[in-house]
Amino acid sequence: MQSTADLIFWVFAAMTILPAIVVVFSRNLLYSAFSLLFTLSGVAGLYALLGADFLAVTQVLVYVGGILVLILFGVMFTQKVYDLRAEAMSFKRIRAAGLGVIVFASLVGVVRSVSWPQAAQRTVHPTSTEIGNLLLSKYLLPFEAISVLLLVVLIGAVVVGKKEVEEER
């Protein structure tokens, strides 16, 4: 039983990390965008494995169904077909990889040096009821703030797009 869960974890981890490498290092912007699809789906699977069922579904709905489509729209709007290469200077890329390795090494050092609590054997319940209660009681203020933020973003995106149209005339 336990080894099955471990196997699923490794499958989802590979499904998350390998496409993420393609996202970062691919020369074709469309390949990057489509690899992001697999990374986000892998993270959704990890959420489900961690018992966060509502969050996994939200990830699929909002990230894979919404944000990724927006990013693909952006790629299609702003790149010409012969121009899909996202080039980077090799020297800059080496420096960036060095920075990434340093960040990763220090994070792993922190994770290894702290003695984390043992995993409690927790039974997994459906979480949506409890999350709904929390959102309307303990986290009411952040919930309202983020609602206002979404409204502002909606208006802001329209304004940014509209001004551009008026300037073209």
Binding site: A13, S32, V111, A119, I131, K138, V153
Partner: protein, 106 residues
Amino acid sequence: MVGLQHYLILSALLASLGIIAMVSRRNAISILMGVELILNAASLNFVAFSRFGPGGSSTPLLGGQVFGIFIIVLAAAEAAIALAIIIAIYHSRSSINADEMDSLKR
């Protein structure tokens, strides 16, 4: 036995890849993808801590999952605004390379 450390190292790897994408890419949309990777890594950390963190076995710690939802909403807002700005810049300059957006320096 997969524990908290596995998830933490996985999300550290994801965040490092996102940092590499943000630093090395010239295309603004690639930089946006790097930001998405980092946000996913942070959210994965929150959820892993809510699963493995201290707390009784009967009362699950759902604060981490609530923060994961907030992060997803923030990512959606950020992607919408960033793409609106990117498309506006593309209309006026017909290029979205980040190192060519230097009109404030002139």
